[in-house]
């Protein structure tokens, strides 16, 4: 796959403060790419620079082969952006917001209505197209914003915290739209999020901390690398299993007749479990989560931040 976004040795300084410190990464065309990190890690700085509204201090950043600093209007044509804070005109209706957006992006006149209808249909706002944006709920505004971001058929859609502040159901819907988009239009999606579980669906993840990239891989590889498998076993008698674990030098926690231990790989647990299957009344195997990955890498829970 072709990298549609290329970032090489990008740095951004505000006076003495280094917000982004020499980062490099690429994003494949048609993929969903997630940027994770605590607040102040440099995610928004990077997105704003890619979106041509912030100047870089150093480095080379290109989108679809165009330099974001020197070929701004070419880059602007190729991207759609949903910012963290609303950028809708709250006095206008949903449809008017999209209509003016089409004028700004020079969408051919005969396609405007069709594209607006498609985008509103995708985010299920067709019934609300004549509603004034200011009267909509937060979730609807976000959906309207997503619809606007894609109405000009961008090559890359940037979503800065697209689901923050939304209720779980709306969050799930927004993800549904994002996946549908990526499939139907082969659009590249570049997003930042606070919710680690949401990043599971991404093809690649970059974790940033203190302006640096601390991890860059697929969710599976990251989980494999940074987390193990947790096994919870309920036994009739715990002694045989305990001695088996001690033999293998595996630390465990005892909780009544329940034992909790960690292994690097699930099949390793299978071996121990099958050896003691007579004494086991119940068991549960939990795979590592991205939350644990994040914790292992940054030493912080992302939601605490």
């Amino acid at each position: 796959m072709n990298p549609i976004i290329q970032v090489k040795h990008f740095s951004k300084k505000y006076g003495d403060f280094t917000a982004v410190d020499d980062i490099s990464f690429t994003v494949d065309e048609g993929s969903i790419f997630a940027f994770l990190g605590p607040n102040g890690a440099g995610k928004s700085t990077t997105i704003n620079t890619l979106c041509t509204i912030l100047d870089k201090t150093e480095g080379a950043l290109t989108i679809n082969g165009h330099d974001v600093a020197r070929e701004r209007s070419l880059v602007r044509k190729d991207i759609g952006i949903v910012f963290q804070d609303s950028t809708l005109d709250s006095q206008m209706t949903v449809e008017e917001n999209l209509k003016y957006h089409c004028s700004f992006y020079k969408v051919p006149k005969n396609e405007v209505q069709e594209r607006i209808d498609f985008a509103l249909d995708l985010v299920e706002l067709t019934e609300w197209k004549r509603a004034v944006v200011g009267s909509l709920s937060g979730g609807m505004k976000r959906r309207a914003e997503i619809a606007r971001g894609l109405v000009h058929d961008p090559k890359v859609l940037f979503l800065d915290e697209p689901t923050t502040g939304l209720d779980p159901q709306t969050r799930a819907n927004v993800w549904e739209y994002i996946r549908r988009l990526q499939k139907q239009k082969n659009m590249t999606i570049f997003l930042t999020t606070h919710y680690m579980d949401e990043a599971e669906v991404c093809s690649k993840i970059v974790i940033m901390d203190h302006g640096k990239i601390v991890a860059h891989d697929t969710p599976e590889n990251l989980k494999h690398q940074y987390t193990g498998t947790e096994v919870d076993v309920v036994c009739t008698s715990t002694e045989p299993l305990e001695s088996a674990l001690q033999e293998r030098d595996i630390s465990y926690r005892k909780d009544g007749n329940k034992l909790v231990f960690h292994t690097k790989k699930a099949p390793a647990a299978l071996e121990i479990l099958s050896e003691h299957r007579e004494t086991i009344t119940d068991f549960e195997v939990k795979n590592g989560t991205l939350n644990e990955v994040f914790l292992a890498i940054t030493g912080k829970e992302i939601r605490e931040l």
């Binding site: 509204i53 910012f83 005109d89 006095q91 008017e96 004028s103 700004f104 006149k109």
Partner: protein
């Protein structure tokens, strides 16, 4: 739709929809007209057509104020976040500036025309040709004023600062423009400001048309404060209009440069303001 037209249309639509603004603006122009034309009539007894002299001054002043004040629309765009949507769009920064300048100018001109109609009821004597010429001058000067206003708005970054800065600049410029106080009686040490003030020239061409003063000689125009003799060099009303356009273009370039600077930290500041409530629309 061309991006300039799109920005213009959107701003006008928002203006028309906020009925309070439209009514407030109309009330203000009428109030000014009635106040000035009746209160100051007596002090202008030496003139041939005192109503034409006064009302034309009031009209151009309201055009000036409305066009500068409407520039603060861009501040509500900044605080509401909409400015970001415009800035990331593939629109030339000249088009963004032009769209905003045009919308301020169109609103100001429309308001000026309404004021002119009320003025006719109150005793302004003008023919159709004069009305058309006056409207054209209003539009041209309103664009220059809007450019100044837009620049002030982008510099001041938030509504309270803009209010302070704009009134700080508007008040003195109004008083030394000749609209209310004839330039001929303004003290000599203030004359440099009079000559640098774009309002001086718009007032002069406006009066020149409203009074039908093309029959006057150059000396006559200078005497009446419609032309200005600087060390023997006479600035005619038409030259004055050209100077206004020049000053307007200068500020237009400044606005474009302001929008071109990619580091739009102003937007960050404004986004932070949202928690405290968006600045009130007048």
């Amino acid at each position: 739709m061309n991006p300039i037209t799109a920005i213009l249309q959107r701003n006008l639509l928002n203006y028309v929809r906020s009925k309070g603004r439209v009514l407030g603006a109309l009330f203000m122009s009428m109030f000014m007209l009635v106040m000035f034309s009746f209160l100051m009539k007596s002090s202008m007894s030496g003139l041939d057509a005192p109503m034409n002299y006064l009302i034309s001054g009031v009209i151009i002043m309201s055009v000036f104020q409305v066009s500068v004040n409407n520039s603060s629309d861009i501040l509500s765009d900044i605080s509401s976040g909409y400015m970001k949507e415009v800035l990331v769009a593939p629109i030339a920064r000249t088009q963004i500036s032009m769209g905003h300048i045009l919308s301020g100018a169109v609103i100001a001109t429309l308001q000026g025309v309404v004021t002119m109609i009320v003025g006719i009821v109150l005793g302004l004597r003008v023919n159709v040709l004069q009305i058309l010429l006056l409207a054209a001058v209003m539009m041209v000067s309103a664009m220059a004023f809007s450019a100044i206003g837009l620049f002030l708005a982008t510099v001041s970054r938030n509504s309270p600062a803009f209010q302070t800065i704009s009134s700080m600049i508007m008040m003195p410029l109004t008083f030394v423009s000749g609209a209310y106080i004839p330039t001929t009686i303004i003290p000599v040490f203030l004359l440099p400001i009079v000559y640098l003030n774009p309002l001086t020239y718009t007032t002069s061409i406006f009066r020149y048309i409203a009074l039908g003063a093309h029959t006057l000689t150059t000396e006559g125009l200078v005497e009446q404060g419609m032309a200005f003799s600087i060390g023997g060099f006479v600035i005619t009303p038409l030259m004055g209009l050209a100077i206004t356009v020049l000053i307007g273009s200068f500020f237009f370039v400044l606005c474009v440069r302001k929008f071109n600077r990619a580091d739009f930290s102003t937007i960050k500041v404004a986004a932070g303001m949202r928690g405290g409530g968006a600045p009130a629309r007048r």
